[in-house]
């Protein structure tokens, strides 16, 4: 996001906000966000530069081992709060809708670590994420995705015996005639890209970092 054509004062504020988000400095980030609103800076530019740009920087810090999962959670919470401050000045109907992802570990699977990482990284990556936890049935995923008008259902399975539940979600959506309403992305220890293709999923993430790239690619 290029901001060099903005007045220097506005550039400084946007840079400060991004810096505060990346540093997970809650007080500074909220104060600067208020200043941005007070200075009539286009909130869409602020969201793209400071929040979306900050999210990428936070993800990079996780990738290099400087940040850990709790930092991603905190950064995600902060981005939500800052987003709400900035969005106040966007007229209704002009708000750019975030892609909404319903995520969880499939029925019978209690493993949450990988799913938590993907969930948090997606959120930091600019997606709105509804995490349904572990051991989630196919119909629970579908009902929630319908209820929230989600764009994507992201499914995790760590056990070979829970992998069939990945397929069940795809099959249930087909049977209900709403397969095309949602993108499906899958992942987890024994899951492979070949398996994703075999069951007709739209995407596969080998790990959390790849999952975010994949989700962005799906909607590009």
């Amino acid at each position: 996001m290029e901001i060099s054509k903005l007045p220097q004062e506005q550039q400084d504020l946007l840079k400060s906000l991004k810096k505060a988000i990346v540093a997970i400095d809650e007080d500074t980030a909220k104060k600067v966000a208020q200043d941005i609103v007070g200075n009539d800076i286009d909130p869409k530019i602020a969201i793209k530069y400071a929040i979306a740009g900050g999210a990428i920087a936070v993800g990079d810090k996780f990738d290099t081992g400087e940040y850990f999962l709790p930092h991603l959670v905190m950064a995600g919470d902060l981005m939500d709060e800052v987003g709400k401050i900035l969005e106040k000045n966007i007229p209704a109907g002009q708000l750019e809708k975030k892609r909404l992802v319903v995520i969880g570990a499939v029925q019978g699977d209690m493993h949450s670590v990988g799913k938590n990482l993907v969930s948090t990284m997606l959120r930091s990556g600019g997606f709105e994420v509804h995490d349904m936890g572990v051991d989630v049935s196919s119909m629970a995923f579908i009902d929630r995705a319908k209820e929230l008008n989600a764009d994507m259902i992201a499914l995790s399975s760590l056990l070979t015996t829970t992998m069939p539940y990945l397929k069940e979600v795809v099959e249930d959506l087909k049977a209900m005639g709403i397969r095309e309403n949602f993108k499906i992305m899958i992942g987890g220890g024994p899951v492979t890209r070949d398996y994703a293709e075999e069951i007709g999923a739209d995407g596969y993430g080998k790990d959390a970092i790849e999952a975010v790239d994949e989700a962005k690619k799906i909607f590009s």
């Binding site: 990738d63 999962l69 709790p70 959670v73 990482l117 015996t161 992998m163 069939p164 024994p190």
Partner: protein, 457 residues
């Protein structure tokens, strides 16, 4: 030790806590304890810790962490609070030896001490998915490794040619797994060898359904009942722990910490890595644990080595061996796949660490294993060969550190290798690697010999 029934009651009566609140409290508490106990990464890089004072502080931090956090029951979303006295009593009362198997195949699996000179206990394989056509053959291949003390089951997606889905099919498949294991050890001429059921799912019916002295899991066998990361437990596993405790089977747990997760970095992972096996012992009576520290990027095979991970792992295992009765195992999980020289080099590093830090050897497999693509018997035999050489040569912590540095240097510009399916690199009929893998094996042996390991070439 606090009874499992008492734990069960606390899963129903403990403080209600939302999971996200637990996760963030986990991080904040660990962060405070890192500072309080001065858990610091040394300035000079090393693979094996030699700071005994740090080990003592890390142990105290681990105990205080468990006391402050308790254990989280994900089934009821409640905190199982533990007092310091309950934790210390459990540590003192846990056994340091486990008798397993029967007849002439009976073995004693025991806790080791730092730099101890006795040979390690060995679980050579599985904990990796295989297809049912290979099941019996694979088991008998691992069981015929003479040093095998117990052998663990494996996961699979189809049984009798049909995809496993839902509790009844899972129970059926669970029983088939154990039947294949029993058949495999018989074929290897070791019918009394202990087997460990690898849960193909964690529902209570799957865990308990394999109990069967005649055709299934015997009292002298074991079961994997792992505590989840971030000190989380589930009621179905506890139900199984209660049943198997009365039945007599031993229990093991995956009790390592994952740096990069809610414990934070390696300093936090050290604290979780010490608290977790103690919690597993209290919650499920897991006395044998694969312990230490892994890094999320290594588990995902993004990088072969990350600085300080081996060191952090050594701090955890040294603390557990000095101050608790935890029987530690090194789960050898290279980022590279079987059939490659890189796999053998990575496995060698972990097999060198094991005797030095006081760990037995457990189920080597590629960290991101997929069906039929995780392990062969060669990696198991190789890790035994390397650890034996380390012991026979009398390596201490400093010497092992020097050797590990040389192997790490050899690996520093490498990327994890994909590797091969078991049938593409190993001859299961004749129990030997295929020519290309044999060549890689001999080449790696020469490399290590050149680095100073006294190994037959």
């Amino acid at each position: 030790m606090i009874t499992l029934f008492e734990i069960a009651e606390r899963t129903q009566a403990g403080e209600k806590v939302e999971e996200k609140k637990w996760d963030m409290e986990f991080f904040k508490t660990i962060t405070a304890l890192i500072e309080k106990y001065e858990i610091k990464i040394p300035e000079t890089h090393c693979f094996i810790n030699r700071d005994n004072d740090l080990v003592e502080r890390a142990f105290e931090a681990g105990v205080e962490f468990l006391e402050r956090m308790g254990i989280y029951c994900i089934t009821t979303r409640r905190r199982i609070k533990l007092t310091r006295e309950e934790i210390i009593t459990a540590i003192k009362e846990a056994p340091t030896e486990i008798l397993m198997g029967e007849g002439r195949d009976q073995r004693v699996w025991r806790q080791r001490k730092i730099e101890e000179k006795e040979k390690l206990n060995v679980c050579p394989g599985h904990h990796s998915p295989f297809t049912e056509d290979l099941a019996g053959l694979v088991v008998s291949n691992f069981a015929q490794i003479p040093r095998t003390d117990f052998i663990e089951g494996f996961n699979f997606s189809k049984v009798d040619g049909r995809e496993i889905m839902g509790p009844p099919m899972e129970v059926y498949a669970s029983r088939r797994q154990v039947a294949w294991m029993r058949e495999g050890v018989r074929k290897a001429g070791r019918p009394g060898l202990a087997i460990v059921y690898y849960p193909i799912n964690t529902r209570a019916e799957d865990l308990i359904g394999v109990m069967d002295p005649d055709h299934g899991l015997r009292r002298t066998d074991g079961i994997l009942l792992s505590l989840l990361p971030d000190l989380k437990m589930e009621q179905d596993m506890l139900s199984a722990a209660i049943v198997y405790d009365e039945y007599g089977s031993f229990k093991i747990s995956g009790s390592f910490a994952i740096a990069g997760g809610f414990c934070g970095g390696l300093d936090g992972a050290i604290i979780e890595g010490i608290a977790k096996p103690i919690a597993a012992m209290i919650a499920y009576r897991d006395y044998i644990n694969y312990t230490g520290v892994e890094h999320v990027h290594m588990l995902n095979a993004r990088q072969i080595l990350l600085p300080w991970v081996n060191w952090a792992r050594s701090v955890v295992n040294q603390a557990l061996n000095r101050f608790t009765h935890t029987i530690c195992m090194r789960w050898v999980i290279p980022t590279s796949g079987p059939g490659t020289a890189l796999n053998l080099l990575e496995s060698a590093m972990q097999a060198i660490e094991a005797p030095i830090n006081g760990m037995n050897l457990y189920a080597p497999r590629q960290c991101r294993t997929t069906t039929n693509h995780g392990q062969t018997p060669l990696e198991a035999e190789w890790m035994i060969e390397v650890s034996d050489a380390i012991i026979e040569q009398g390596f201490n912590r400093q010497g092992a550190d020097d050797l590990l540095s040389k192997i790490a240097k050899r690996l520093e510009n490498e990327k994890p290798a994909e590797g091969y399916d078991i049938n593409a690199c190993y001859d299961l009929i004749h129990h030997r690697p295929l020519p290309d893998y044999q060549k890689a094996y001999l080449s790696v042996k020469k490399e290590l010999a050149g680095m100073g390991l006294a190994i037959d070439i």
